[in-house]
């Protein structure tokens, strides 16, 4: 059994379990699945700065912070206790494309050539951590949700603005990978 759990889980298992989060949160206590809201609650709790967007009773929404705290712990548990001993399989075509962009494909979850502390104070770090993170935080709140709130919760409840947002998430990602990346990676 443990051997089976240690293997990478197929998409249909992961998809079904992620989808089940929607009813589980609703039935546990009328909570709406949406992860990016936690970032807003952190702002409201730590640095509201008299901005009206952050002036609300964040304690009422504290469940979301417990939830993301759990996600972090889940990452720890999965990596420490249930991790897959074999290297991650990356599609051969993607490997080829990434190598052409001088990304070293190391078959870990994240490429160490980018996501390491050595790069923190370099242009690479500025782009991959600071700019990337900023776009994620600013964009999700401006969009009114992320992949969980729009693509999963929003589409599950048949909301067309969520479909628009999901299409734009994808459009932004395609634009970055195909149009901006080839140019961006020449800078490093």
């Amino acid at each position: 059994m443990l051997e089976l759990i240690r293997q990478p889980w197929p998409w249909y298992v992961a998809g079904a379990l992620i989808g089940l989060t929607v009813p589980v949160l609703l039935l546990l206590g009328n909570k709406h699945f949406g992860i990016s809201s936690s970032l807003r609650h952190i702002c409201a709790a730590c640095l509201p700065a008299n901005i009206s967007f952050f002036k609300y009773n964040w304690r009422r929404e504290m469940w979301n912070l417990f939830f993301v705290g759990g996600v972090l712990l889940g990452g720890l548990v999965a990596t420490q206790l249930l991790s897959n001993p074999d290297p991650i399989q990356v599609s051969a075509q993607t490997v080829q494309d990434l190598e052409a962009l001088n990304v070293v494909v190391d078959n870990e979850l994240m490429p160490a050539s980018i996501f390491s502390f050595e790069n923190l104070f370099s242009l690479k770090g500025l782009v991959f951590f600071v700019l990337g993170g900023f776009l994620v935080g600013f964009g999700t709140r401006y969009a009114g949700g992320c992949t969980s709130g729009h693509s999963i919760m929003g589409l599950s409840t048949l909301q067309w603005p969520s479909l628009v947002a999901t299409c734009c998430f994808m459009a932004g990602g395609f634009a970055m990978v195909h149009l901006i990346f080839p140019w961006l990676m020449k800078l490093f």
Binding site: N30, G70, L72, A78, D97, G133, L135, G144, V177
Partner: protein
């Protein structure tokens, strides 16, 4: 809460929310800060394990997705949507109540320009970081501590959105 919806009209018990919390807590029964919230942490832990075990937090999987070289992410998100849809349909159809015996509340999302502009910005960031907000937390838990910088930057992004909100097209 994001404008009023039909649900609000039909359900007078629904609580008022801070401006547009998109993932609101609609429970009427009072909750203790720690004990009541532990169950959401347990759900979060299971969710985080799924993220890591299905490699959804992997930067490479996101690259494969946007390069159309793998079906993995499309399959996972697609299955999640279908399972979510069926669950919501069942909850509505059989009027399933929450553990506290409350009616499940749904909110209508209204379109605004952020659904296009903000969503595209997030898409750009998603492809760079290889993470949407959920996987950011799981990546940190998996030991990629440098992602803490990405998380702080994402919190800063959210903060600046709050600051500039009134000046942005909606």
């Amino acid at each position: 809460m994001q404008n009023t919806t039909e649900e609000f009209v039909t359900n007078p018990l629904v609580l008022e929310h801070p401006i547009e919390c998109e993932a609101p807590n609609d429970q009427l029964t009072l909750e203790t800060p720690i004990v009541s919230n532990v169950k959401y942490m347990v759900v979060g832990i299971l969710f985080g394990i799924v993220f890591v075990k299905a490699e959804i937090i992997s930067w490479y999987r996101i690259q494969e997705m946007f390069r159309l070289h793998s079906f993995h992410m499309y399959g996972a998100i697609g299955t999640a949507v279908v399972v979510g849809m069926i669950s919501v349909w069942l909850i509505k159809k059989f009027k399933i109540r929450t553990m506290q015996g409350e009616e499940v509340v749904f909110h209508k999302k209204d379109f605004h320009w952020g659904n296009i502009i903000g969503a595209s910005m997030f898409g750009l960031g998603w492809a760079i970081t290889g993470a949407c907000p959920g996987p950011l937390f799981a990546q940190i838990g998996s030991g990629f501590l440098v992602v803490l910088v990405t998380l702080v930057s994402a919190i800063a992004g959210t903060w600046f959105y709050g600051l500039l909100r009134d000046r942005l097209p909606h």
